[in-house]
Amino acid sequence: MPAKGNRSRGALEQEILACLVSTGRPMTPAEVQAELGRDLAYTTVMTTLSRLHDKRALDRCLRGRAFRYSLAGDAEGVRANVTAHQMHKLLADGTDRASVLTRFVAELNPDDEQLLAELLARSDEQP
């Protein structure tokens, strides 16, 4: 099914972008593969990285024998901060306007916080 193929390809692209953002430094395909930490072929990671580069989503530079990839256009950071501010205002704007955004998680009260922390601690013990 091509639609599903596209979907999982898109998901992997996002996963790799998120990975590069979270480490915050240029990475080689091997490093990305290791960081993703799941059953992915090296070639899959490499193909996805170079596809993202073709789409101008990633910059790359040759270091030694492998390319290192990083998120393109970090100069955009300033504008992104402005956006963050605008979106915060939107979120804080009351139910009406904020309702078009679906946030991943809402705020927690202290009891819930402790409960979740315990749940996490328990599940971290038995991976």
Binding site: S22, T83, A98
Partner: protein, 306 residues
């Protein structure tokens, strides 16, 4: 006729008391669909019946009868409600209609505003927006082409597997157009305050829906639960938002984590089918009222000319 006329109102009241139950008892995708379709149906059919009541009770006014060439006494004998009720119904219907219209326009403008704020910030050829931000946050923005927004600090707070959960969750919101379910319920509630409870119920349902999709996509319910819990904790240690955007009570994250830690939701086909039955019943009631109203006016017209 009265019996038929009150059917949608009875169901509106019933929906008020059962919305939360529906969102808990059914698989989240089914619950989201049912809640949305039910609240729209109930809201529209209540409006139709109010309009019919307005028309028929104002039709007995001699001035209206004169203008429309029908016989006022026939309408009166046909069991039309008193005129004051007609005036009241007219006022209520126009008020609710304008509320629904205002709510729709607000939804559209809010989506436009959010999309405008994000213009050109997507990672090229994707729907992902990464923002440099001190406070961990992640959300999806509704619209024709939805966007996923995550802050760098949120991504850094999560492990690789947990990041997959978060991305899969937000992608599910976008792919299944969850904002539409919420916004349609909002409009239905604006047009009929009796169904207001369905709004928060549908919000919970679409979150659970996205959680279940994420759990399926990563193939690990425990990982999905962990991702959700970690993200929630990251948010609470960061700068708090001034207000919960979704209006979800604080306990909901814990409920969602618990749901992911237990078995996938059971499909209760019979319960879903039973609830779905309300839709044709409401439309049937509205149709009967409309046909009777029309029939009465036709009768009065014949009487006028004979």
């Amino acid at each position: 006729m009265i019996l038929f006329a009150i059917v949608p109102f009875v169901f509106a009241l019933a929906l008020h008391f059962t919305s939360a139950f529906i969102s808990r008892a059914l698989p989240p995708a089914w619950a989201s669909w049912l809640l949305t379709v039910l609240s729209l149906t109930v809201s529209v059919t209540c409006g139709l019946i109010l309009s019919a009541a307005a028309v028929i009770s104002l039709a007995r006014l001699p001035e209206a009868a004169q203008l429309g060439h029908w016989s006022a006494p026939i309408i009166e004998h046909g069991g039309a409600p008193p005129v004051w009720l007609g005036v009241l119904a007219t006022l209520v219907v126009s008020l609710l209609l304008s509320m629904a219209l205002i709510r729709s326009l607000r939804s559209i403008s809010a989506i436009a505003a959010a999309r405008y704020a994000l213009r050109g910030l997507e990672v090229p050829q994707s729907n992902l927006v990464v923002i440099e931000n001190a406070s961990p946050t992640a959300y999806s923005v509704g619209g024709l082409h939805g966007r996923i927004v995550v802050s760098t600090s949120m991504l850094r707070a999560l492990s690789a597997g947990e990041r997959r959960v978060l991305l899969a969750h937000e992608a599910a919101h976008v792919r299944h157009h969850h904002y539409l379910f919420v916004q349609l319920c909002e409009v239905a509630a604006a047009a009929n305050p009796l169904v207001r409870a369905s709004v928060s119920a549908v919000r919970v349902s679409v979150e659970r829906w996205a959680d279940e999709v994420a759990a399926r996509d990563v193939g690990d319910r425990a990982l999905a639960a962990r991702g959700l819990a970690r993200a929630a904790l990251a948010c609470s240690t960061g700068q708090p938002m001034t207000r919960a955007a979704l209006g979800i009570s604080d306990g909901d994250v814990v409920l969602r984590v618990r749901a992911l830690l237990s078995a996938p939701p059971t499909q209760r086909r019979q319960l879903a089918a039973l609830l779905a039955l309300v839709v044709p019943l409401c439309w049937l009631a509205a149709a009967v009222v409309a046909i009777r109203t029309h029939g009465l006016i036709e009768l009065a017209e014949h009487a006028y000319f004979s």
